[in-house]
Amino acid sequence: MNQILKSTFAAGALALLLAGSASAVTLNMHNGGDPTSLDPHKLSGDWENRIAGDIFEGLVTEDAGANPVPGQAESWTVSDDKTVYTFKLRDGISWSDGKPVTASDFLFAFQRLFDPKNAAEYAYLQFTIKNAAAINEGKITDMAQLGVKAIDDKTLEITLEQPSPYFIGALTHYTGYPLPKHVIDAKGADWVKIENIVTNGAYKPTEWVPGSHVLAVKNDKYYGAAGVKIDAVKFVTLEDNAAALKQYRAGEFDILTDFPKDQYQWIQENLPGQAHVVPFAGLYYYVINSTKPPFDNANVRKALSMAVNREVIGPQILGTGELPAYSWVPPGMSGYGDPVMVDWKDLSYGDKVAEAKKLLAEAGITPEKPLKAQLRYNTNDNHKRIAVAIASMWKPLGIDIELYNTETKVHYDEMQRGLLEIGRAGWLADYNDADNFLSLLKTGIEHNYGKWSNADFDKLIEDGNKEQDQAKRAELFHKAEKIALDNTAAIPIYYYLSENIVSPKIKGFQDNAFDIHRTRWLEKTE
């Protein structure tokens, strides 16, 4: 009971506080799951990113359209060989307790991120930094060798392993946030408890009830505080989408970050203009175990891919109109231009099926002599619908699919151990670069569940990442993508959509391919 009293008191005090200011505006956001932590080094989900990105800010941050813009750094310079970045920190940046944010807070955060003792799940995202990977793997124990130096309080120098065109974009990620060294030194692991935590973003967290909500109020010490229009954000934990939609209709939520797909039509009719359904930098795909006969035959894989009628999946099976994917890299990746499409994209579906039948017949698979194969997916209604539909598309070709589903943890554990014939996977971009998707097919990396391997492909990706010139780099990547598609390294199915419902009261919500909408760009009118 004590806890309730305490939180009641805290909320009461806050209400008084807010009532005191002229017009307190709270944004009520349906945020899905419970955050793992408020410590940026322990996060991995988009619902955690929404909180972390409002309360912390890196050298570089996102504008309203999720493009990288200067954050805590006011500007930066790059050496001629594009491996040394020198950041100049903004004047007047400080933590929510008033202490200034210095270059050593960034240095401290990067060292902590890579320190194996801290076991940061997402450390690998910043492995472009010199010696970061070696330190994280324990091969180097001397932190001084990390490619991050605090030259003085206002200047931070970061050296990379090799030029990386997406480094600036990756710095917007929560693994690039500074941490309050003075608080962590004083409180140790407890620095992140709600009563101790200090942050440098537009908001500071003041209340966290696990299973209920995180409340963050405007941080007056934030350099851009004058432009922040919403006084507090309540990130509400609620896994039931249908209940969230009812709450939205009753005015209890301003933004829903997800909604039940089967109600999309109803939403369009009854809440016109409020559903924001836009392409998202993510790919839904099936992997095929290319080490196992007959799937080691590229023609068999191609036939499977051709026979998937992608056009019906978004509009009819899912009902939200996901766009069919014929490329490996989703459209809209920075500096990449249009992705390469499979060369049979424009055939009619009948022709595709005829061709697929021919290819399979050559491999000795016909409806009379069917191939039995297992298709596995993690337990979820949408995955199931898609699997059932695709199995029925494959059936006339002589592929007898056995559907096999397990919960998410088991699914990925088994896929990584190579226990699959055909399996469902998905990927959401970590940063705005085609490399993020192409790397999924490189030889020997964990995410390459199908164990597809092609030396030319690997070489092109490697060369592309060394290339300084953006256009030439894109060209190398395009070639690599073409190889992957020609060999049917995997079966792209659809590009993800971000699905938000935004109340007409909210202004400044810009749709973008990364589904990042920092609260400081939003406004709420009554």
Binding site: I4, A119, E121, V192, E252, K409
Partner: protein, 307 residues
């Protein structure tokens, strides 16, 4: 009485130990671990995580460390919700669940006993049939159906009550979840009560009371209810432990931060620490409630007391 209760408590220790041991090892047999997910982690990082949580040690050693910690009252870290230990999470969630659950229990007993008694007094007459009908509805409608309907009617359409949320424990926020939790239990209790009173009414001492000229209503109130409560009490033990461990559906639909979803989500997340913590918590709760039921028996039935 006290030595009896104490002995009962002692005998539960081995049960608790067996349950924890079983849960510990069976959990590890399940494929997949706490760090498997949509994004595979590089081996070096997995190694760091395993070392952080002692998962790199031999299983028996992990078990000994865990049991050692539990004996010192420490349920260990949660693998998924890292800012709160298992004990802290339970401490935070329990008040919410207990508030809603105890209201539901009290309400279910009041409604159930009243409805059951009325049904018994007017056995096979109109009030009995009417109550029977309402109760049957309460029994057959599952809570995952009742909850959204109530939300839609009272929250969205009429706008009288909040659709979901804790709202700092305000009564208006509690109404819907408590009703959803109360309905099936009130229904069952009233069935038990009705049957039990009808049975008791055939007993000799009731006939004696009636023969002395006491009216049917007074007979029920004064002489029948107390003995008739026995089956209700034995039902209340399991029902209370069911309610107090929280309801996944009600907590998810109404967005309450209780402990009901811990067990399920922890198992799905392979949050080893949290699963074991909830197992221990549930066991202790069930043991205490069963003890209370036994004590209540002794209070209600002199035959049990003297035995």
């Amino acid at each position: 009485m006290f030595s009896y209760a104490f002995k009962r408590l002692l005998s539960t220790i081995p049960v608790l130990w067996i349950a924890v041991t079983l849960a510990f090892f069976v959990l590890r047999l399940a494929p997949g671990g706490p760090f498997d997910g949509e994004r595979p982690l590089p081996p070096a990082i997995l190694k760091n995580l395993a070392a952080h949580y002692n998962l790199d040690k031999p299983l028996v050693e992990q078990y000994l460390i865990y049991v050692g910690n539990v004996l010192q009252g420490d349920l260990g870290p949660s693998f998924v919700n890292e800012d709160f230990s298992v004990t802290e999470q339970l401490m935070i969630g329990v008040p919410y669940t207990f508030t809603v659950a105890s209201l539901a229990i009290v309400l279910a007993v009041i409604i159930g006993v009243a409805a059951g008694s009325i049904g018994a007094i007017y056995q096979n007459k109109l009030p009995d049939y009417m109550i029977g009908f309402v109760i049957l509805t309460g029994l057959v409608l599952p809570n995952f159906l009742v909850a959204p309907i109530l939300q839609l009617v009272f929250g969205v359409k009429l706008g009288w009550l909040p659709v979901a949320g804790w709202g700092n424990g305000a009564l208006r926020n509690l109404v819907l979840p408590v009703i959803v939790l109360t309905l099936p239990h009130a229904a069952r209790i009233s069935r038990l009560m009705r049957g039990s009173i009808i049975e008791v009414m055939n007993a000799n001492y009731i006939r004696t009371a009636r023969a002395k000229g006491i009216g049917p209503r007074l007979t029920v109130m004064r002489h029948a209810i107390k003995p008739a409560l026995m089956p209700v009490v034995s039902y209340l033990g399991p029902a209370a432990s069911y309610l107090l461990t929280g309801s996944l559906v009600v907590e998810t639909v109404f967005g309450l931060p209780g402990i009901g979803k811990y067990f399920i989500t922890a198992a799905l997340n392979r949050d080893y620490g949290m699963v074991l913590g909830t197992v221990i918590f549930y066991m202790v709760l069930i043991i205490i409630l069963n003890l209370l039921v036994d004590v209540a028996y002794a209070f209600l039935d002199p035959k049990v007391r003297t035995r």
